[in-house]
Amino acid sequence: MTAYLDGELASRELQEVDTHLAGCTNCRDELESLKFAYDLTMQLPELDVSADLWDRIYTGLLTSVTTSPDSNNFSRRAWPRKWIPIGATLAGLLAVVLMLAPGTNSDPVAEQKFAEFLRQREQISIHNRQLLNNLDNHHLPAINPFVEAISYRNQNPFLQE
């Protein structure tokens, strides 16, 4: 009977119920009383959502982000903990670069010092490259430590005695 009122019956079942109701006073009365209660329920007023409910939810979401990051989907997605040290390192490097990089409005003295720094760094780099080249091209004499030791032994006056 309830499924009939709710429109949940298939067409064949609907026909069967209709046929039965046509000849059964008791079932018609039952249907009528159920429908009366059903209509009263349908008339229950609906609440409007209060204006501050979303604010409360929003505050709760932000609070939960800071208080329980491990159980919070949002915090895991937006601020993965494993990225925090990497992010901090990158932020530090960026700060150093920004401090060293000449800006359009930077101090002329600082710019001059920075240019000097670059020039010295280039000279050091050139010098280092030259040293490396010399090392590559330099043929060290073949020193046999055993021969040297024998020679030294032969020159030792105490041993000669």
């Binding site: 018609r28 209660a37 009263l40 229950l44 007023p45 609906e46 409910l53 979303w54 989907n73």
Partner: protein
């Protein structure tokens, strides 16, 4: 011959009261990535439904708002576990249902009992609802609303859930089955028992106070 007006028109599909599937998928997907604007849009669509479901389950606006708040916060936290965005509504109602269950575990919500003297002051059923409006628009008097609400609140939780989802939220039996996690046959049976029980309580009150023999 049966009065044809008694038969209810088949209820509209739940889809008509839902977001378009593509929009729902998009919003849920964005919310799963932490987009609060998308989640707020989901709230704008489902907030009122959840609030009214909880209101009829608890009988208290204050309790309903607290539970609605908890429901949406919990939903956002656990959105990552929702594998099928198209089932968002059922999933959300299930969270709300669990919240009610946990809050009132083993006990029923406290509803103020109806003052029978108030009922005795009413002369007839016409005073219980506004006669100028049609059945769909009629507004119940406070007393009659309290009567129906008490009848709902006195239902065992198992029946109360399916009754509110069916009679108030007007959901299909299939969707209710998804929400409560019981078979369709079980849901049908429970809705029927709940309706009969609510009817009997209303009948008892109105019969006693108004001598309404037709009930």
């Amino acid at each position: 011959m049966k009065d044809e007006t008694q038969k209810r028109e088949p209820r509209k599909s739940d889809a008509s009261s839902n977001l378009p599937a593509s929009r729902l998928r998009e919003l849920v997907g964005r919310a799963q990535e932490g987009d609060l604007d998308a989640f707020q849009e989901l709230y704008s669509f489902y907030g009122r439904k959840i609030l009214n479901y909880l209101y009829r389950m608890t009988g208290s606006r204050e309790e309903a708002e607290d539970l609605a708040q908890d429901t949406f916060i919990l939903a956002f936290r656990n959105l990552g576990s929702l594998k099928h965005p198209e089932r968002f509504q059922s999933w959300l109602f299930r969270i709300a249902q669990n919240n009610v269950y946990q809050k009132y575990r083993g006990k029923r919500p406290q509803i103020e009992s109806i003052d029978e003297e108030d009922f005795n002051e009413l002369s007839d059923l016409q005073r219980l609802s506004t006669p100028s409006k049609g059945p769909e628009e009629a507004v119940l008097s406070d007393e009659l609303e309290a009567l129906v609400q008490q009848a709902i609140s006195e239902l065992p939780e198992k029946y109360r859930t399916v009754f509110v989802l069916s009679a108030i939220q007007k959901m299909s039996y299939q969707r209710i089955s998804e929400i409560v996690g019981r078979s369709l046959a079980s849901v049908k049976s429970d809705i029927h028992r709940a309706r009969v029980e609510v009817r009997d309580k209303i009948k008892k009150y109105l019969g006693k106070n108004y001598g309404m023999s037709k009930l």
